[in-house]
Amino acid sequence: MPEIRVTPLGAGQDVGRSCILVSIGGKNVMLDCGMHMGFNDDRRFPDFSYITRNGRLTDFLDCVIISHFHLDHCGALPYFSEMVGYDGPIYMTHPTQAICPILLEDYRKIAVDKKGEANFFTSQMIKDCMKKVVAVHLHQTVQGDYNMTPDRHLGAAWIDKCRPNLLITESTYATTIRDSKRCRERDFLKKVHETVERGGKVLIPVFALGRAQELCILLETFWERVNLKAPIYFSTGLTEKANHYYKLFITWTNQKIRKTFVQRNMFEFKHIKAFDRAFADNPGPMVVFATPGMLHAGQSLQIFRKWAGNEKNMVIMPGYCVQGTVGHKILSGQRKLEMEGRQVLEVKMQVEYMSFSAHADAKGIMQLVGQAEPESVLLVHGEAKKMEFLKQKIEQEFRVNCYMPANGETVTLPTSPSIPVGISLGLLKREMAQGLLPSAKKPRLLHGTLIMKDSSFQLVSSEQALKELGLAEHQLRFTCRVHLHDSRKEQETAARVYSHLKSVLKDHCVQHLPDGSVTVESILIQAAAHSEDPGTKVLLVSWTYQDEELGSYLTSLLKKGLPQAPS
């Protein structure tokens, strides 16, 4: 009986260290390979020994799929591929591939910054790991954190009614229906504004990506609207690069940004400037975004120490802080912090928590399940109690089985092995005409386009698919310019090219068309005058994908020049 087996090694009734093994159709797939910020030892990564005991890793595991670039989903990847020894393919989207190394470098920095971090991956390992990545276009990855509310920088998650056997979804905010995003933003802006108005300084510790971008856009727009003059600074070089990537992947971001982007580059901020350490002592109000996000080292901690003693100032923590960080301490209300050398730092500045976290709430998860219409649902990346609540809700509302395995627990789901697909008669006839009839012993490949409509599947010829879907066909042509020393007229050059090719390419169909151009199969060659140099002609060579080899051969041939013509 074919079945799907799912075993979380991390993120089963748990948050962080996401790593889910899925066996499906004889293939073993690992979804995510994340880390846990709360630990500095072996426990920060999933325990891969449960996979390695099945023999060689690369033999056992067919691929790794990373849902997105957050460290709790990709932080263990270089360790897994370069130190544990996985040598197979890793799939992720283009933006994830671009941003992943930045965050991994950031993570490595934190690890190296602490003592005793031997056995940690190096920059070279991050690069080698990224070289194993196959970037893909996914409409949405199967599982991973997502958000049903559109962000300022990313569109809301959307998934087709694909009726999967199993939908694996995160459930971080499984019990919460969060207050509206607008409320949270208004609140945030109000707090920043008040502090700046009374001459205070605002520190916002951030991780390099995601939230930081959103908050920047928010403040930038607000500053513009209210005409504020207080400076806003960004303290890190990494975020510049992150902004750069967000620019590159503008098509993945949300509609509104894309529109605005045409008029003004949303990521090139007018009010937000690079921070210099010296600015922290400047008098007067300012807002500073600084890394790292949990106030556990580096720039953000340094600024915090300077500003903590003044009640006019404020620190806004826009995310979760693990135990053992200054961020965690001040969020839990501690006001007297022991620093190095038994010094005590009194925190008089205001401490605020503003969640802009990129997770879906209960409503969002329910929406997604409703849209996708899965046969079963499996919850990961959340706390057991909250999952339990959501599980019941899903089971009641959608009448489907919902699972929430703990780490190490396996869920086994039977699946139906065959999917009936209709084949258009035209396609079948055409294929038959081409050769032997297929038999059970000698199966034959049949090429066609699969159309999935409602709940039916149909295999048709590509022409028919274009017709049915109302799409126009596009042809991709490669073009290349070749410069030739020839002072004669263009027509004469073309004629010379024709006779040269005719003599060299005996097996191909070389034609001289009435308009003066020369063709070899699908390859088109036209001669044109050089705009500056009358002694030079430009040959424009273009070919289709199918004739790529011939095209590049011809270009290299023409680059060598034409044989001397009898003058």
Partner: protein, 823 residues
């Protein structure tokens, strides 16, 4: 335990025991347990419990049915185990009837909480910690505990099941390891009760022939033979081996994978392999019995054994070579694969496996290639090593995969169809081919190797990962190629290969895939490093446009590629292979020097990797006294340090200190043995008069750079600077006379600047510092103290137990919904 923690503990225990107070997060409980482990390892647990009665109260609370959270329950079980690891404390907890309550039927075992895997896991881990002394054994035997552990071996949670098996091994080892009078008796009735029960259970499982039970039993035995030693191991094996042998009669063979693990574990065990116990026969029988894919790991394991009968080794090697023999037979026109050990012909079972499906074929071939790759460098590998047929097989597989083979047989044709374009097999075969470069082969085959590598490097169908492996294999073959006799240059075949390779490299450096461009540059760097001095290589490279292309890649859109280009051109330049001189026709005449170009990268590149690479190149250049550097070393160092000091990337700044240290060593003499940096500086020039040297350091603004770095917000930078200044002080002080000679220097501006830097201000750059003033300040700084502080982890304060307890207490009641934001 320090008094501060002792004071906080009762409140914390109260919080933990209160089901209405949810505990902040799992990591806190884990860390708390870590802390208790360190305390109990260092001192008496009994004393700890007596001094902190709140701990016993906490454990008592667990006994009450009151709905404690699964996490706290699990934590308490593990905590109790940690305490009870010491015999005195075990007795104490026994007397208080706490242990039976926690681990017996009356405890969580019988409650609803048991359904949570974390509770079951805590229960096992608690027992695992507790079972450290003989008095624990009756406790384990009496309370039905063992039966529960047996059943947990089949737990739905992988973690629990695995831990249960480990626990059984541990208990078995503990119960049999008591000081024995004479050899243990083979009669089970003489064994301790725990051992009897466990061995009985294992026997029962092996007899059951049901795969899950057999697997569990075999896994327990594997770990036992892997970890435990002593005469009783032999007795145990003698008793169980007939049952294991019985398994071999079953069809299908249950738990083959675990069986292989067990047999190898037994064979590796020193007690057993010396006295045969029929083990070799069982191994030989198993090799015959297993399918090709299952037999591979066993064959490899046998070949890795230090001493085992020659016949068995030959059999194992034959099994390992089977798939390759099939490939060779399928490809070869002549009958029988040449050169493989006798008896290794492709058998029909292996052929069937290879032809059964694409995944089976790829799986078997990849496994075989990986096993042989592992075996190749080992001293105990079979001898004679069939290098030639192995090379032939690797080349053939690669040819099957890229469709360039013309198989003569039907099987060959089918293999070709299955393997065409199979990236997995291509990667494995290229890795193996690279490993075979350790030794050479017949010239004809080496030519084939070169040809197939070129095919792969040239082919537009090669994926980036395959190309990377092809470059790596090529590098290994190139570097192992023989020198022409009588001169130190490359032999003619290698020359020829290079002439074909370089145009391919040139094409790959223009690949649209950044991965490929990067792999190409890495290859170029490596090959130049090794062959930069060979005239033949130099000639071919300079004629190839590759150096020019590498330089163009300094402006690649991908930062990783820019970084690799920086490293490559740095290496080329070190070897005098940089392209500057070779482009006289370039418009504009004067071409910017590479030094200027790399300085430009260092000061303007928007990303860290190229800047780091540039710093590394500069450090190398300084170390090797590169011509461009030697022209005006001081100006060079000053410019590099100035650029590095402004860098946002901490590794660039740290690398700047590395460069500063090299300069320091060259100016002042070798770093002493006390210096933590093993700088491989070339023989330093004899240090000039100290004052002169110090002025040079001042002119390049090294002092300023190092002092600023001393207060860097990134700890590794500060640490490195501290080491550098300590070295400087040690080097500069002994001759000492300076200070007296010059009178007391004016240290005020230096100290003022230090104050500002310490406060994190940038401040104005200092003018030329008086070296004497710097030395005086250096002597007044507590650098040793600073080094001690910096050697601590940057979060050591927050990591302290006191901080942990405070944090756990502080989070009570303020636990919001947002505990789980993404990072």
């Amino acid at each position: 335990m320090d008094p501060e923690c002792s004071q906080l503990l009762p409140a914390l225990c109260a919080v933990l025991a209160d089901p209405r107070q949810p505990v902040a997060d799992d990591t806190c409980l884990e860390k708390l347990l870590d802390w208790f482990k360190t305390i109990t390892e260092a001192g008496s647990s009994l004393q700890l419990l007596q001094e902190n009665p709140c701990l016993v109260e906490l454990l008592c609370h667990v006994l009450k049915p009151q709905g404690l959270s699964a996490r706290v329950l699990s934590f308490s079980l593990r905590l109790a185990g940690v305490f009870a690891a010491q015999e005195s404390c075990f007795q104490y907890l026994q007397q208080a009837e706490l242990l039976p309550g926690l681990f017996g039927e009356a405890g969580p075992l019988g409650q609803a909480a048991w359904s949570a895997p974390t509770v079951r896991s805590g229960w096992i881990q608690g027992l695992r910690s507790l079972a450290q002394h003989p008095s624990a054994l009756p406790f384990l035997a009496d309370c039905g505990t063992l039966d529960t552990i047996f059943s947990l071996q089949g737990d739905s949670s992988l973690f629990v099941a695995s831990a249960a098996g480990q626990l059984l091994v541990h208990i078995l080892g503990l119960s049999l390891q008591r000081p024995a009078e004479g050899p243990p008796s083979p009669q089970a009735c003489d064994w301790p009760v725990c051992a009897q029960k466990i061995v009985g259970h294992i026997e029962g499982s092996l007899r059951s022939m049901a795969t899950p039970q057999v697997t569990q039993a075999l896994n327990v035995l594997t770990t036992t033979f892997g970890h435990c030693h002593g005469p009783w191991m032999q007795v145990l094996w003698e008793r169980l081996s007939p049952l294991v042998a019985c398994l071999l009669q079953e069809d299908p063979l249950p738990a083959a994978h675990s069986l292989v693990d067990l047999l190898l574990s037994v064979a590796r065990s020193p007690v057993l392999s010396s006295s045969d116990c029929g083990l070799w026969e069982t191994l030989a029988q198993t090799l015959r019995r297993l399918s090709p894919a299952q037999a591979g790991p066993l064959a490899l394991g046998i070949l890795k054994l230090q001493d085992c009968p020659q016949a068995l080794r030959a059999q194992a090697f034959g099994v390992l070579l089977q798939p390759l023999a099939c490939v060779l037979t399928a490809a070869d026109q002549a009958p029988g694969p040449p050169g493989l050990p006798e008896g290794t012909t492709g058998d029909s079972v292996t052929v069937d496996t290879l032809l059964s499906s694409k995944s089976a074929c790829a799986g078997l071939l990849c496994q075989t290639l990986a096993h042989l790759e592992l075996l190749q460098p080992l001293p105990q590998r079979p001898s004679p090593w069939p290098q030639a047929p192995l090379l032939g097989a690797a080349v053939t597989i690669l040819r099957f995969c890229n469709g360039s083979a013309a198989p003569a047989s039907d099987v060959g044709g089918r293999l070709c169809a299955i393997l065409a374009g199979c990236v997995r097999v291509q990667r494995a075969a290229l890795d193996f081919l690279g490993a075979l470069a350790q030794e050479t082969g017949p010239q004809e085959l080496v030519t084939q190797v070169s040809a197939v590598l070129l095919e792969y490097l040239r082919s537009p169908d090669s994926s980036p990962t395959v190309l990377k492996k092809a470059f790596q294999a090529t590098l290994r073959w190139l570097l192992s190629s023989p020198r022409a006799p009588g001169c130190c240059d490359l032999d003619p075949d290698t020359q020829l290969f290079l002439r074909e390779l370089l145009p391919v490299l040139r094409k790959r450096l223009c690949s649209p895939c950044w991965e490929v461009r990067d792999s190409g540059l890495e290859f170029l760097t490596q090959v130049t490093r090794h062959w930069g001095g060979q005239a033949g290589f130099r000639h071919a490279l300079l004629a190839s446009e590759v150096p020019e292309l590498a330089e163009q890649l300094l402006r690649d859109p991908e930062s990783y590629v820019r970084a690799s280009a920086v490293t490559a051109v740095g290496q080329l330049s070190s070897q005098g292979l940089h392209a500057t001189a070779a482009s006289p026709e370039q418009l504009g005449g004067q071409k910017e020097s590479l030094l200027a170009e790399l300085l430009h990268v260092l000061s303007t590149d928007s990303e860290g990797f190229p800047r780091r690479a540039a710093m590394q190149v500069f450090t190398e250049w300084l170390r090797d006294r590169h011509a461009d550097v030697a022209e005006d070393t001081e100006r060079f160092v000053a410019r590099v340090l100035q650029a590095a000091s402004r860098d946002l990337d901490w590794e660039v700044r740290a690398q700047g200190l590395e460069l500063a240290l090299v300069f320091l060593a060259q100016t002042l003499g070798q770093p002493s043995a006390r210096c933590p940096y093993a700088v491989a500086a070339p023989q330093a020039t004899p240090p000039g008069p100290l004052a002169q040297a110090l002025r040079a350091l001042s002119r390049v603004r090294l002092f300023e750079f190092a002092f600023r770095a001393l207060f860097d917000c990134d700890r590794p930078v500060a640490q490195k600077s501290c080491d550098l200044l300590l070295f400087l002080r040690a080097q500069a002080t002994p001759s000492g006379g300076l200070q007296e000679a010059e009178g007391s220097p004016d240290v005020v501006p230096v100290e003022a600047a230090l104050q500002r830097w310490r406060a994190g201000e940038q401040g104005e750059p200092l003018g030329d510092l008086e070296p004497e003033a710097v030395l005086a300040v250096l002597r007044s700084l507590d650098l040793e103290g600073l080094r001690g502080a910096l050697a601590e982890s940057s979060d050591h304060v927050e990591k302290s137990p006191q901080s942990l307890l405070q944090d756990m207490l502080a989070t009570v009641g303020v636990r919001g919904e947002n505990q789980a934001d993404c990072y």
